[in-house]
């Protein structure tokens, strides 16, 4: 890619990443939440790979890393949801057992922000894994 694209991507990808994290964390106060924010975070990484080319990465290790990150995010999600089964007094799956604060504050609404963060990491890792898998297939075929 030309020098303009590379320079603009260098400046912008950090801002895009930060914007994605803002949308994930404020999921219970503004529209957005886990899935939309996760897509934006994945967009930041994919933009970097498209602008600079895939020669800078060892693609196999990247793909293994993002695949493991995705699976562990889902396991963390299941763990938080199942911990409600052990809380005394309410033995039900998926019950909201953390204290709910006042409406409109950042730390409120029980465990919904935790779920948003887990889903955001999972969606970003999943989209990155799909992109890297297709890229690895293209390299394999061209050889």
């Amino acid at each position: 890619m030309t020098i303009i694209v590379k320079k603009v991507t260098q400046i912008m990808c950090g801002i895009i990443f930060l914007y994605g994290i803002y949308i994930v964390v404020h999921g219970h106060l503004t529209p957005g939440g886990g899935f939309a924010g996760g897509t934006i975070i994945a967009g930041a990484f994919i933009l970097l790979i498209i602008a600079f080319g895939s020669g800078f990465l060892s693609l196999k290790k990247e793909e293994t890393g993002s695949s493991i990150l995705e699976s562990s995010a889902i396991l963390v999600f299941l763990l938080i949801a199942s911990a409600g089964l052990l809380v005394a007094g309410m033995g039900i799956f998926f019950v909201n057992y953390l204290p709910k604060g006042t409406i409109g504050h950042l730390i409120s609404a029980g465990f919904i922000p935790l779920f948003n963060i887990a889903v955001g990491i999972e969606v970003a890792a999943a989209l990155l894994t799909i992109f890297l898998a297709l890229l690895i297939y293209k390299d394999e075929v061209i050889k």
Partner: protein, 112 residues
């Protein structure tokens, strides 16, 4: 009422794409159009006249909200559509490598 009929028209256009086109990628795009039209229909079902976005905030006058349940349904349906489309495209590019063509009239190994 015309809005719902236009959504069904978009669904039928996508169905025409799946049924009548010969290129593999055009079939995938037809399926994607069908899926977007059903998502649009679901959101339109939940519209209330004069409503605003269904978010609870601190400065809350006595407002009318649109129905939030179809919006949650559509969020899930978009994710499912993403999974379907990406799996279809991965299989389509592997098919191209094996058969050297995108034309479905050539890809006819399984018969009878």
């Amino acid at each position: 009422m015309t809005v719902y009929l236009l959504c069904i028209l978009l669904f039928l256009i996508g169905l025409y794409g799946v049924v009548a086109k010969r290129n593999l990628i055009k079939i995938v795009i037809g399926l994607a159009i069908m899926e977007y039209s059903v998502n649009l229909f679901l959101i339109l079902v939940g519209y209330v006249k004069g409503g605003t976005a269904p978010i609870l905030s601190r400065n809350l006058a006595n407002k009318v909200f649109v129905d939030p349940l179809p919006q949650a349904m559509v969020l899930t349906a978009i994710v499912i559509g993403l999974a379907t489309t990406s799996l279809l495209l991965a299989i389509a590019i592997r098919l191209y490598r094996k058969y050297k063509t995108f034309d479905i009239r050539e890809i006819k190994n399984l018969k009878g």
